[in-house]
Amino acid sequence: MFSQIFILSPRGDTIINRDFRSDLPKSTPETFFRQAKTYSGDANPLFNVDCIQFAHIKRGGLYIVGTSRFNLQPAMSLELLDRLAKEIKDFCGVINEEVLRKNFILIYEILDESFDFGYPQLMATEQIKPLIVNEPIQPQPDSVMNSLRPKIQTFNIFVPNTMGSQAVQRSVLNKNQANEIFVDIYEKLNVLFNSSAYVINQSIEGCIQMTSFLQGNPPLKLALNEDLQIGRQQGQYSAGVILDDCNFHECVNANELDMNKTLRIQPPDGQFVVMNYRISGDYAAPFRLFPIIEEISSSKIEVTIKLKACFDAKIIASYANIRIPIPKQTANAYPELVKNAQQETAEYDSNKKIIEWQIKKLCGGQERSLKIKLTLQATQTAHTARKEIGPIAMNFEIPMFNVSRLQIKYLRIEERGNTTNPHRWVRYITQSSSYVCRI
């Protein structure tokens, strides 16, 4: 397993360097940094230099790197580094250079409990909490560094683009915290339409994610829809919610899921994914796209795209962006919005040959449309060029809405007699993962 774990600043300075096996040269961090800089853009997560295997992730601008001489498992090593980043974040609240430098002793402690001889040991925040003696040092709240801090990326966890949450940047060690728990249901949609708006392929990747600040980590009971069913038989149709497959966090006991649709959860501190699920069956796609292409003359094409929001009028999509690739031989393109269009823009990027149509807010039931007039260069005729239009790709986010109808019926603390009732926050968020219409 790992020989060393080190954390480097964006400039390549060593912030943390823990050597577990002493079987690699001391200069390995420099070797890593030099190699990482040879990539244009982000370096590959895994690469091999002189028989040394490097695995790294980037968090808050920092490189978190594991090295090994052995045939390690790539998925696992990345997961381990990500988990380490999560631990550090749980303890310190955020990950950035300043915080890590201030807390480097604490981080050595965390590393020592998390890894021994390079093998992962205890890696759950609440498991190692009793073994850690150092207190985290919080950075100055008004420091300039903080406001410039890059957004923290997470590995296995969904981050919505528009909905803010106060749960995101808080340390679990903060003692005066509110007794509360956040539950999010995220769904990412994959839909593929053909030119006549018929669905060729669709699926949902969803997860239930919790961020727990509950005092004393009491056991929880989470109830889902009563018509929930797991595993799909071939050719079966049912009115209920059918999940093709799902998996659970270690803290979840799913034995009662089949019987009474409840999960028993022993929540750890901080953020974790309770369950992931996958649905491949038919569902009503929230948006429909109707592209119409007309050849006006041999050098002119007109593309009209209609967008229909097929969900309840009370629900509002927080944004919807549509990208339409147009032929390489385009001389000029004019996207035209409908008259009086509000909170909508359409732009032509002549370098990339793409029309970007951005809609800021869209209520359920509404329709929008865009007309694009294309003029082609003389070298190509409209007939061959029209094949180069598309596929149209769409990005959106709809808060407080989920397609699968998976719902949280209730979330209870199992022990009675707990006087303070914690605050529970539930959010539903639907995002596009790959929402594409072929032409």
């Binding site: 300075d13 002493s22 045939n71 021994d116 001889f117 205890l122 150092n134 998996n247 072929r438």
Partner: protein, 660 residues
Amino acid sequence: MAYFGNNPQRGELQELYADLNDLNFEKKKEAVKKVIAYMTVGKDVSDLFQSVIKCLEFNDIEMKKLIYLYIVNYSRQKPDDAIMVIQNFRKDVRKSENPLVRALAIRTFGCLRVPKLNEYLIEPLKDCIQDDDPYVRKTAVLCVPKVYEVSPEICPPLLELLQKLLEKESNALVLANLIQSMREIEVVSGKQIIILNQKIIQKLLLAVDECIEWGQIFILDYLATYNPQDSKQAEIIIERTLPRLSHINPTVTFCAVKVILKYLDFLDNGDLVKNLCKKVAPSLISLLSWNQPEVQYTILRNISLILQKFPILFENDVKVFFCSFNEPYYIKYEKLDIMVRICDSKNFGQVLNELLIYLNEADPHFVRKTIKSIGKIAITYDKALDKAVSILVEFAKNIQQPTEPVQELLIQMQLIYKKNKQMYKHEESLKIIYSIIDYANEPESKSACAWIVGEFGEFIPKSVEKMKEYIDNFQMEDRLVQLQLLTSAVQLYLKYPSQCSILIQQLITSAKDSFNPDVRDRTYIYWRLLSTDPEIVKNLVCFNSGTFSNFSKDLRLWETQDLVLALENMGNISNLFHKLPHQLYKNIKIKVNNQQEVKIYKGDEKPESQVKEQQDENQQNIQKEQQQQQDIDLLNFDDPPVNNNNNNNKSNKTDVFELI
């Protein structure tokens, strides 16, 4: 921030030295922290060793942690000073009430890596392995491989203890560490250390349920190397592993898949095998949908390996591998590859329709790969041939520029024609392909064009003029093209002797003085043959049987004997590169594993013996073909698939060695 940046000047070291020896505890602690900070950025603070060690006299755990960190870093530089710490360690291990302190001491002790200190370590380590507290045991167990690496000669009593512990240990976490550390010693020493029995296996299986996720990975990964005694045992192990398939950690799920796939071989019950395959497939698909592209990539790479052994696994799920537009290209390439592998007589239509759409993508490299995949499908599956060819020809109609995909198109069409020579002679397709022949600008595609001109000379217009054009530029061409041109020109000459006689003379004159010995030799051979008896040349060059049944072998990643080893390393990084571990890492010894033949799980399952027979038959066929190919190889009539050839060369070599 102040800790970093500056060099520890002489003065600073002195200041630290003074602080370390200060009477004030807080001041000492601050000083130790500064020392660690210097150490982290790689500055040498080893001169302070003695002063730092002195601070150990305080019974403060935070201070201890810091100092131990320091000692581990510098013990090898200052082994003599390190001896002074030994007493401290021993005291901590023996006397401390706090299991944290005991574990901390033994963990640090193990990391010293100074051979002469290790003797002092044996006794305390033995105590710790038998400690009452599992936290201490789990730490101590991992110390053994640390010691083994530095001084293996003093370890046998420790190994005995480990084996004893394996029999009686009940804590899952300790068991997981135990397995892992014993495995590591097995790897380092090349000996078998772990001795299993029914009871231990039972215990390991129970431990999987109770363990933290990383422990589960250790145990499952180990179980995947074990060979069960009978079908019953295999069934039990699979049964206990099944719940792991729905674990949220992708590595746990994947290890579970690995265990189950491995044990399928040992099951008697065919229905059970089918059912299990149905359970494994959705889990693998889920791994593809929930994870980051990096993890998906590793899974995809492994799926192409699994598919070689289990072609039935994804029979009905080919849709899962369709590319979505916003995926990174490395994922798309893998998916293309897998689609070709899954493609069979039932779903080829679906796959080809999907590939057809990819041809419109913007990225030329991706389109090229798509064309290659279509070509592969056409060559591998006879039923798909017509549809695939019509897609490619349709694509050829719209070509106006010498782009990258065009090169691949020409190469693939050559291969398709080679395999199905009779079918396409008179086809419309040939004309269309011929019309884009001028767009070839890579050696491989050019040589494909030359082949087409030579082979189908009589069916395409102005083939002689075309050949003249090629020969005029002969000197500028790549060696590959030159070789093909020689053969093709001779073919054409035999078809149109009168028109081509000047042409062939021109060619021979310019080729006979080539700097490349291959080109020169081939020129001379043709020259001599043509001048003696053109009939012989005809037999050689217009060889018409065109057997390409072993094209499908190209889809195999591994030779059968390597497949076992590759499957054992499923999920490891060597598989990411589609290599065997010893090809990638020099420090890994291979266990020679020439046992059972590999069972392949096909759609309509045949009894094993038949499959084997078939394999033998195939083997013979292949050998025959290789023989044939070697005969003709001289004339490079067909490029034989590289795999075979290597193989053959290898066996030839060993023969020679044996003779010597």
